[in-house]
Subunit: 282 residues, 2 copies
């Protein structure tokens, strides 16, 4: 009672008194990864600045986050500017900066977002939810994580869980499934989903390079895009239930692989699709 | 023989004498669409500014272009800034602006790009080129285009050509193919491919909403992302040959649909994958 959810703590942004474009926050230890917070949390933070901006028009359609450097511990600044406002769409530029050891602000993350007033139109989904056992029929991952952020999610892998043997033998599966992970995921503890939380969940997949060979190599997202197919009414209807999420790569080449992901609610509605390009070593 | 290719004319950018970040160009009538140049040309222009920037490190990995407004005829300004340079990756922010009727600069397009020094690593492609007849076995599209830009491409549709009957009957094809277009494409006349040309070709697909129903509705790209899997050596090897390109949507909902695309050279190498979210009416 009165306990703020980890994610709400992580996304807490204070608006600067005289400038609605500037926000300050604190990097969340609860979502810590190897050298900074989980990239999904950073994406959610950037989007949160747009969500609470007094000039925002409509709801998120697209978000692209470019990870220039690891966010370190402590305070950071987010600047969110509506750089172009049309009748029904609005274009945002968002920067996340942090002071270096000498106190000079360093740009850590650049992002863009588009928000829009959505209208009822004809529509259809061509990406039906794959058949899957129900969440309670799948075991929660109990991996001995060495980092903190996976503990903030309940993840139940159906296909493509984190390998336990790093034998460097390329998967012989069908190319469409050789790098595929499919899982149920929700915030832990449960939390009603909103756009920032959905953006973060689109990034919960461990690096596809770990699965495809499998080999445990350094890897990090360079650029991450989320397209929101859900509006807030659909997110409200989704509530705090598990999402079925899946991700696969199309190509691994010369230090970079791509990843495409889809997220459905338990009723089978496609909430978001997402893409990223990821650096990997060796 | 001294004749500059249409695309090189369109991409011609003059650097400002005292500021390497600023470039001026002219909107190309040769690539005109309904109310401005073809969006692919705009994406190529934005990337061209990065390519010719004296501070550029490495080759393009990712490009995201957000279309805020239609570019009109005449002069425009591109500002390309390396906002974060790491040991092997570099993050760019690019803006395209144009003076309005009163001469005041208006932001038309915002973009981000990542360039990187690529290294030899393990790699694999999980998106093999689909089997297709050879380019010379497929007829060039001879549609009576009402706009100029499609004349700048040789496009040979194998699947999902522009509908000729707008009967508003939803496709009954398998969801994976209901919005699928597959075609051979190259610049017309032929031109050795480079990164800007590849970015433009990732956007040659007419709106998926036209195919899926089919109904001829207003539609326009809102945000467009290209991931480059090719390096310049592979582009050099590709030369001016046709690319096999395909695109499909995953969801159409409340005025926006997504599109994912892949482009291979004729030898079967995946050169780029691309994603976009597109506004549509009704």
């Amino acid at each position: 009672m009165g306990t703020t959810h980890f994610l709400d703590q992580a996304l807490k942004l204070e608006a600067a008194p005289a400038d609605a474009d500037h926000y300050t926050g604190t990097a969340s230890p609860a979502y810590w990864n190897m050298v900074g917070p989980f990239g999904g949390t950073t994406a959610a933070t950037v989007l949160q600045a747009v969500m609470q901006h007094p000039k925002r028009l409509g709801e998120p359609i697209a978000l692209t986050v470019n990870y220039g450097a690891a966010l370190g511990p402590g305070a950071f600044t987010v600047t969110a500017r509506a750089v172009r406002t049309n009748r029904s769409t609005q274009h945002w530029r968002i920067d996340l900066s942090q002071a270096d050891a000498e106190g000079a602000p360093q740009l850590v993350t650049t992002a863009t977002a588009v928000t829009a007033a959505r209208r009822d139109t004809w529509g259809v989904s061509d990406m039906p939810m794959p058949s899957a056992p129900l969440p309670h029929e799948v075991e929660s991952s109990k991996l001995d994580f060495r980092v903190e952020w996976p503990r903030r999610y309940d993840m139940r892998a159906i296909l493509g869980d984190v390998p336990t043997q790093w034998n460097e033998t390329e998967s012989q599966a069908d190319p469409a499934e050789a790098s595929l992970t499919r899982l149920w995921v929700r915030d832990e503890p449960p939390r009603p989903i909103d756009f920032p939380a959905l953006a973060a969940m689109a990034d919960v997949f461990y690096p596809r390079a770990w699965l495809r060979r499998p080999k445990l190599v350094p890897a990090g997202t360079v650029s991450f895009t989320v397209y929101f197919h859900a509006d807030s009414a659909l997110l409200d209807a989704t509530g705090d239930g598990h999402l079925l999420a899946q991700a696969r790569a199309q190509a691994f080449r010369n230090g970079f692989f791509d990843q495409s992901a889809q997220l459905w609610n338990q009723a089978g509605a496609l909430l978001a699709t997402s893409h990223q390009i990821v650096y990997y070593k060796e």
